[in-house]
């Protein structure tokens, strides 16, 4: 039972972050290596909130989302907007540089927080609240994470399919030039979608320290798991990413539990995500979305490279 709840909360946090990453990839074609850093930015915003106000970090959700969103927005405006239209690999390299910058900035930030506020800013964790639910003792995370995740993803769905800005976002993702011709302000729309994707990541960051100890370089540990979810989902499909992150979350949790029962070290946990990436690309490069998308569109992984 506990294991199941663990898996659910892990998958929902994963879903929040990886759907954001997927959104980035769809709209701007940037495989953003800095995306996991927005999660960590969110976690640090929550830490700061907790240290300054003394309230429980759960309440910092809006703040963390805002912090992650602003970080993503800034990285779009300062880095990716000027580089629009460059090759995919150039954008990837730019995002690596960005990852390096954000991570180092977080390290400096952690140093300062540590010396000014006198709290641990490296390897910190939050203590969870235990709630009584019908005679069942539960950690709040098991309820809060899935609920928040569901709520935010429903909101995203509503945004994308029921509002004008959502239609614009999808139009830009489909064909930016055409959208521009039709009077869509591409830059503003893309800025907005980056903000949304960063905000989702920032919100996920609040839940992270409840399970793992978080440091400025925690991003590198989650990054490839996020990519595993995105790739398994089929690059460029939000639904696919959602399903895949649940799949990855569940299998990873269960597998780690099962194998540690057999005496296999839990330190091998990261290997799972890496194998998912490689196996997906080898066996089903269109990911899960390729299974149900009858229409053969979107980004094909095996195409001729031509410039």
């Amino acid at each position: 039972m506990n294991l199941l709840l663990e898996a659910i909360s892990y998958s929902s946090v994963l879903a929040l972050a990886s759907v954001g990453l997927s959104l980035c990839i769809i709209t701007t074609r940037v495989s953003n290596f800095a995306h996991a850093d927005y999660v960590v930015v969110g976690a640090y915003a929550a830490l700061l909130f907790k240290a300054l106000s003394g309230l429980h970090p759960y309440l910092s959700l809006p703040l963390a989302a805002l912090a992650g969103g602003v970080a993503a927005l800034l990285s779009y405006l300062l880095v990716f907007e000027p580089l629009r239209g460059r090759s995919i690999v150039t954008l990837m390299i730019a995002s690596m540089a960005l990852d390096l910058i954000i991570r180092s900035a977080l390290q400096l930030f952690a140093d300062h927080v540590q010396s000014f506020l006198g709290i641990f800013a490296r390897g910190f964790v939050f203590r969870d609240i235990t709630v009584q639910l019908g005679g069942l003792k539960l950690e709040l995370l098991a309820v809060a994470a899935p609920l928040t995740s569901l709520f935010l993803l429903a909101l995203l769905y509503f945004l994308l399919f029921k509002t004008r800005i959502g239609i614009r976002m999808r139009a830009v993702a489909e064909n930016a030039e055409l959208a521009e011709v039709l009077g869509v302000n591409v830059e503003r729309t893309l800025s907005f979608s980056w903000f949304v994707s960063g905000a989702l990541a920032g919100a996920a960051g609040v839940f992270l320290p409840l399970r793992f100890s978080v440091s400025p370089d925690s991003g590198s540990f989650i990054l490839l798991t996020l990519f595993a979810a995105v790739i398994l989902g089929g690059l460029g499909s939000l639904t696919g990413t959602l399903v895949a992150s649940c799949l990855v979350g569940f299998t990873e949790t269960l597998l780690v539990y099962g194998l540690s029962g057999l005496g296999v070290s839990t330190a091998l946990r990261p290997l799972f995500a890496f194998s998912v990436i490689i196996l997906t690309l080898l066996l089903q490069p269109r990911g899960l979305a390729g299974l149900w998308a009858a229409e053969r569109r979107g980004v094909l992984p095996w195409v001729w490279r031509r410039r």
Partner: protein
């Protein structure tokens, strides 16, 4: 000794990074193949030194290995080093075997890593290579029979026979490796092979229609680049005298990619310049730390400066600090004879 050691430190690190940057240049600059598993091949060279040097020494000395590798590798490395100080031949044998194994293993692994993935589109290729690189690191970290896991492994000092001139020999070895790598790279780059690589980079379909076996060339290039990276790994391991799997994170790959982009992809001098910039920045900042009180950790500051300068280069000077020039693929005598003929006709 202080200044001398500092100079050696800078030069050896430069040689290591420059070789890595050269191998990245060959793959990414010339062929357009972003080999984001560079850290894994770099690690492979270092691992081969870490895993083999002490074991080999013990076997050659006719001793028995007692106890687990992770606990005893430092001890045996010291024992063998002491022996090498007396018999240089032992050091030479160990060095030769380590390099041979590193080169062969890297080439094989390069083919292995590339075989299934080379047909993928660039970004997928990059991500799967990153995953591959992390698999190598996590595996080395958790199976401590290879290089001692998180304990790391001791490396035999194969230049111990030189006594106090050890640093000088190491320096010569590092710079020699760099010179050799550069010569090999330059020869390849200006040959027919190099021209085909660049043609694939610029238009794969055209190269394919003109009868080039694109995938085979890619695989060959990846194997070659990996070999260079492994040599850098051996130099690095011999210099530091220790191998730790956690040294070889994806971050190392990023740094090397940035060197190539910063220096100018496609220009043979680009990676050399990029590596020099990085090392200079790094060392200048840690030197400045002693002179003025900088209120922040210098390591992170240098990362930030490096990242920002890379972004600036990407934005305002995408061809890098040293843009690609058409390479001189004809030999000088041939060129001169052409010129002379022109002259004679007039």
């Amino acid at each position: 000794m202080g200044v001398e050691a500092a100079v050696v430190d800078v030069c050896v690190l430069y040689a290591v990074y420059a070789i890595l940057a050269l191998s990245m240049e060959l793959e990414y600059g010339e062929l357009g193949l972003p080999n984001f598993a560079k850290a894994a091949f770099f690690a492979l060279g270092a691992f081969s030194a870490g895993a083999l040097s002490a074991r080999l020494g013990v076997i050659l000395l006719g001793m028995d290995w007692e106890g687990a590798f992770r606990e005893r590798s430092w001890f045996y490395a010291t024992v063998v080093t002491r022996e090498v100080a007396r018999t240089p031949l032992l050091g030479a044998v160990i060095l030769a075997v380590v390099i041979a194994v590193a080169v062969v293993a890297a080439a094989l692994l390069g083919v292995l890593a590339s075989y299934p993935t080379l047909r993928l589109r660039e970004d997928y290729l990059a991500i799967s290579l990153i995953a591959f690189s992390e698999i190598v690191r996590v595996a080395a970290r958790n199976f401590d029979a290879i290089v001692g896991g998180t304990f790391g492994a001791g490396v035999v000092d194969v230049f111990a026979w030189a006594g106090s001139a050890r640093y000088l020999v190491l320096l010569l070895f590092a710079l020699g490796s760099l010179a050799l790598s550069y010569t090999v790279y330059l020869r390849l780059s200006t040959s027919r092979y190099g021209r085909v690589l660049r043609s694939i980079r610029d238009d794969e379909l055209a190269a394919l229609t003109l009868g080039r076996d694109v995938w085979k060339l890619r695989m060959k290039t990846l194997a070659l680049g990996s070999t260079l990276a492994a040599i850098a790994g051996v130099v690095y391991a011999l210099y530091t005298g220790a191998v730790n799997p956690d040294d070889f994170t994806v971050g190392k790959t990023f740094v090397v990619v940035m060197m190539v982009v910063l220096g100018g992809r496609g220009n043979p001098l680009g990676p050399l310049a990029g590596a020099a910039l990085y090392i200079l920045l790094d060392k200048a900042l840690s030197f400045a730390k002693h002179l003025v009180a900088i209120p922040v950790d210098v390591n992170y500051l240098s990362y930030i400066i490096f990242g920002v300068s890379l972004l600036a280069v990407l934005r305002w000077r995408p061809q890098g600090l040293m843009p690609e020039k058409p390479p001189l693929t004809l030999r000088k005598e041939v060129l001169l004879s052409y010129l002379r003929k022109e002259h004679a006709r007039e």
